[in-house]
């Protein structure tokens, strides 16, 4: 009992072959799109590598790039096969290759689906990488004289300006770290020394933020220092002031940005997956209908095409048996004391009298 059997006349088969040829070429284009999406994601992640902690985030774009390239190759081959399938004589060339091709393409479409799901699943790791990366970047903000970290100040400032965010979770994160280097602190002044002594680690902490946290929509010039002190500035109330600094945290801003990119990419890859699946179904129908035509012998007759010859369960069982027998190939059959050449009488049907044939006398 075949799965989803469809009858195909000769014209149907020819038309199917032509349509599939065009669709395979469209799939080559979608393969290129997939490749470029992976490349784009890789470039975007690399652009902010300084703000991300060491996490293996590159497996997602690498998977997309690899799938894109393989898609181009597989669909190019598929286009060639379908072009030749319109002619029954040319089909004989590809007859033996078609079933392995269909199986490979089936597993490959599964890989595309995995790629799409990975895009959605990457978010958790990305959040962790950004959290740790931003925390370190803010800690090393003041180290503009340390090689390897000297550009972190510029990176963090430009990030806060571009994404309109401040700090990791909010602007208060800047109150907990020393972001002014000791090179610019006058250690001879009493206030500086007092501040340094006021906390366990000897850090110069203050309720101030860098200039890049300033909100350009504020109606008043930016208040960067003594933010929590309402009396330090005229006509200023710390609790109600909302427009002075950026309220969003940079982790959330970056996460939103990357989530948006990955969701769009994931959605596109899902659409490509559905398209590839439909092309695969068409190729399977074409393969089975052409094989049935060859079995029937008349190239112009109708034939059946199906997805699976038997039902799912039977196909699975027979495939499992094939795999088991492949495994048994190397094992020795212990039933005949290890000798496969012993003549075991079979229970075959010999003739009307069911007489077994005379056994050949062994030469003594």
């Amino acid at each position: 009992m075949a799965v989803l059997k469809v009858k195909f006349t000769k014209t149907n088969r020819d038309k199917l072959a032509q349509v599939l040829w065009i669709l395979n070429w469209v799939s080559v284009v979608t393969g290129v799109i997939l490749f470029s999406l992976g490349l784009f994601l890789k470039v975007e992640i690399n652009k902010r590598w300084e703000l991300m902690a060491e996490r293996d985030l590159h497996y997602v774009p690498n998977m997309l790039i690899a799938t894109g390239l393989i898609a181009c190759g597989i669909n190019f081959l598929g286009g060639k096969i379908c072009y030749d399938c319109a002619d029954t004589t040319k089909f004989l060339r590809w007859k033996l290759l078609m079933l392995p091709y269909v199986i490979c393409t089936f597993f490959f479409t599964f890989c595309i689906l995995v790629g799409a799901l990975m895009c959605y699943g990457m978010r958790g790791e990305l959040e962790e990488a950004l959290d740790l990366g931003l925390r370190d970047a803010m800690r090393y903000y003041k180290d503009t004289d340390t090689p390897g970290r000297c550009f972190l100040k510029r990176t963090v400032d430009l990030l806060q300006i571009q994404f309109q965010c401040c700090g990791n979770f909010g602007f208060r994160d800047w109150f907990q770290i020393q972001w002014i280097s000791n090179r610019y602190l006058d250690m001879s002044r009493r206030e500086v020394v007092a501040r340094l002594r006021s906390n366990v680690e000897g850090k110069y902490l203050m309720d101030g933020v860098p200039f890049s946290c300033c909100n350009i929509n504020s109606p008043r010039p930016c208040i960067q220092h003594q933010i929590t002190n309402s009396s330090a500035h005229f006509n200023y109330e710390y609790q109600t002031e909302e427009l002075n600094l950026w309220r969003k945290g940079c982790r959330q801003a970056l996460l939103e940005y990357y989530t948006h990119i990955m969701q769009s990419i994931g959605f596109t890859v899902l659409i490509i997956w559905l398209f590839e699946l439909s092309v695969l179904t068409g190729v399977r129908y074409l393969q089975t209908s052409l094989e049935n035509v060859l079995r029937q012998g008349d190239p112009d007759s109708e034939s059946d095409g199906w997805l699976l010859e038997n039902s799912f369960v039977e196909t699975a069982r027979s495939n499992f048996n094939i795999i088991k027998s492949l495994g048994k190939c190397n094992q020795i059959d212990t039933a005949n004391n290890g000798d496969p050449n012993i003549n075991v009488p079979s229970t075959a049907y010999y003739g009307p009298d069911n007489l077994p044939s005379k056994q050949i006398p062994m030469a003594s």
């Binding site: 503009t144 004289d145 000297c150 100040k153 510029r154 400032d157 430009l158 300006i161 972001w179 002014i180 280097s181 090179r183 610019y184 602190l185 006058d186 860098p210 200039f211 890049s212 300033c214 350009i216 929509n217 109606p219 008043r220 010039p221 930016c222 960067q224 500035h233 005229f234 006509n235 200023y236």
Partner: protein, 348 residues
């Protein structure tokens, strides 16, 4: 004496028509390209319209847009003409339109060239316009509560951060303007009162700049206030400090940006001009070679030229034709008066 005469056997005429067809389609694309360049330049100028005082510089993108559309039109016409050119029945209806077409094609080239020249010549006007616009922007920076000026602060801050510049000529322009609104100044404090009284206009002037002048590439956290006072900040020397703020003035930054745009657009426009001239010359040769074809022997050789007579003689001819056209009106009126006088004489 014919100008630049060439022999055109049938094969060459056919090839000329084919080549011209291809060239005219390329020229249509070039016209579309010119139009889009004009649109792009205009959008860029409009983006910073708030810091420009006048719109004189907009004449350059306007010319480019108009000429781009005209170029597309005339080259579509040229393509149509050369499609019909090798068919002796379909070509004659196009002939009377060819002379005005040459005039129009010449005008297109002249306008494009003038657009390129203007883009360099108007640099001074652009700079003046920006000077006035930026001065007003800086002056009204604090008026975030005045309708019509409330977005100046955001505009100037965004401009300074995007173009990495500070002030009009440099950051000292901020020292001459009160950029902190009175709403945020505590007039009960002695320091504020002293400062306001210290100058004639009663403005709160200070040697400080807004945060948008800060350079993110500076190794130290930004110093915005008391910039000229070396003792106000530790390890700070006003004269030698270069990385703290942006050194460039916004006027210079904007002029450089727009001149860079014009310099990129310039070669593109020059190549469009050369393409248009080649279409013009090819169509002229095709036209004159087809005119010289013997109607009884359409496959014979013919001559093609650019001008039937020399340049001087053609110009004299054009002059006399123009004079005749101008005098045509006057002579008619004179004739009527004479005819009327004659009639009266005859009657009397």
């Amino acid at each position: 004496m014919v100008l630049l005469k060439l022999q055109f056997p049938l094969q060459r005429r056919v090839r000329l028509a084919q080549g011209l067809w291809l060239l005219s389609w390329l020229a249509v694309l070039a016209g579309a390209f010119t139009f889009s360049l004009g649109v792009y330049l205009k959008t860029e100028l409009l983006r910073r319209a708030e810091v420009m005082d006048n719109t004189e510089i907009h004449v350059v993108p306007n010319i480019l847009m108009l000429v781009g559309l005209v170029t597309m039109g005339i080259n579509l016409f040229a393509g149509r003409v050369c499609q019909d050119s090798l068919d002796s029945a379909r070509f004659p209806p196009w002939k009377p339109f060819l002379l005005p077409w040459y005039g129009l094609a010449w005008m297109v080239c002249v306008w494009l060239l003038s657009a390129v020249v203007l883009s360099y010549a108007l640099q001074g006007h652009l700079e003046e316009s920006l000077k006035v616009g930026l001065r007003n922007g800086i002056r009204f920076y604090r008026d975030t509560d005045v309708p019509g000026r409330c977005f100046q602060k955001e505009t100037i801050d965004r401009l300074q951060m995007e173009l990495r510049c500070c002030g009009n000529t440099n950051y000292r322009d901020w020292f001459e303007v009160q950029w902190i609104s009175n709403r945020y100044l505590d007039f009960t404090s002695k320091e504020v009162k002293d400062r306001v009284r210290s100058n004639v206009d009663g403005r709160y002037l200070m040697d400080g700049v807004p945060f948008s002048c800060c350079n993110p590439g500076s190794p130290r956290p930004c110093l915005q206030n008391h910039l000229t006072d070396n003792t106000a900040h530790y390890n700070y020397e006003h004269q030698s400090e270069e990385l703290n703020l942006y050194n460039r003035g916004c006027r210079q930054a904007l002029v450089d940006y727009y001149m860079g745009l014009m310099n990129t657009i310039g070669p593109g426009i020059l190549s469009v001009i050369s393409l248009q001239i080649s279409v013009l010359v090819s169509l002229r040769y095709l036209h004159t070679s087809l005119e010289g074809v013997d109607p009884e022997n359409p496959e014979a050789d013919s001559e093609g030229y650019i001008l039937a007579k020399g340049v001087k003689e053609t110009l004299m001819d054009v002059k006399t034709t123009v004079f005749k056209l101008l005098q045509f009106g006057q002579v008619e009126a004179g004739d009527e008066a004479e005819a009327g006088a004659d009639g009266e004489k005859a009657a009397s």
